[in-house]
Symmetry: C2
Subunit: 197 residues, 2 copies
Amino acid sequence: MKHKGNTNPPGRQKIIEALTRLMWTKEFHAVTTAEIAELAGVTEGLIYKYFKSKKELLHQVLNELFTRFNQTVFERVAHKASAIEKLEIVIHSSLEYYAANRVFARILLLEVRNSPDYFSSEAYTRVRAYAAKILEIIQNGIHKGELRPDIDPLIFRKIILGTMEHACLGEIIFTRELDALAVTRHISTILFNGAKA
Amino acid sequence: MKHKGNTNPPGRQKIIEALTRLMWTKEFHAVTTAEIAELAGVTEGLIYKYFKSKKELLHQVLNELFTRFNQTVFERVAHKASAIEKLEIVIHSSLEYYAANRVFARILLLEVRNSPDYFSSEAYTRVRAYAAKILEIIQNGIHKGELRPDIDPLIFRKIILGTMEHACLGEIIFTRELDALAVTRHISTILFNGAKA
DNA sequence: TGTGTGAGTAAGTATTACTCACCAAAACTT
DNA sequence: AAGTTTTGGTGAGTAATACTTACTCACACA
């Protein structure tokens, strides 16, 4: 029997939820398929009906979480007018979402990027949509004269993405509190005004 | 028999070199202990004489690579006078080293951070020494009036670290060329002068 | 009534990280 | 020099675990 992938049966969703819950306390590799199946209340075999590997399951979990993440961010960005405000909102929303959804952050920042097949997953297309939105804001900001014309938009995007990630990495790894707003303000000051005295 | 760890027998070094070589083409998880042993010309059992797990072996590989990395960076930084120049040298050296040593970069950025025991490894103390040096430069720069007094040194460090990492991440993952100097210049412009027009 | 299909099960198998008992020889002790 | 300990290394296991395969049941619907 072949699964066509256009339905979402209860078993499938239970499996996704089970892995998500287990990753609250354990890293991905430390979670076994047996555990996932047990918590989901299904058999191990069913996992491989819906997902072709344990890793693909992880990617699908990320895909679901990232879909919601993108909705949040895109919707919030639309309310702001200036490029700088938009970027500040992106940073703030992202940090807030990371802080509130640790499993999401851990999967995205720590678990998936080492495997090549992630980059052909659906989850990664979500990431690219997110990144594309940031690039669009930057390019628009340059065009409108809000941002310096001599900055490379692609590199500025990398700076923003890297900054966001690293700004919460320690907090994510060691499960510490994160003051998203305060950190956003500091980042914003440096990135837009520069660190030079 | 107990291994005291203060010697460095040929077998141990061969194992480290074998994993390093294998990771040129494969991600860590795709490398098997059998492969490592075969390439090193030793038996699988010997791996577990010197390393208490496959992961600890990875941490030791990183430790060796990071030790050399730190030597390079520290030595170069010492030659510069101003804080900004020092930071530029840190960024440039790091990017250059990442570009030249892809396995090192992949291990550091993609492979180790998901496991808790990494953070009590010797390799991580090397990372902390590197990070401490950056913090010291920033604090000194603020003290001397080169950098703005209102920036948070810890957050500025995160920005620098995150920026560096993300600036080469795509190139590392997809093994593309990286123009370390050009990227460093762009980063430097934005971080020190700001992106605002 | 019969057939095809989606959802799920149960019992495997194969891989692979890791262990354990043992060995040979170098390096201390006395 | 004899005895003892330590070091570097082997090789045959074992346990765990990701994944497979053959099967069943319910039910839509023609």
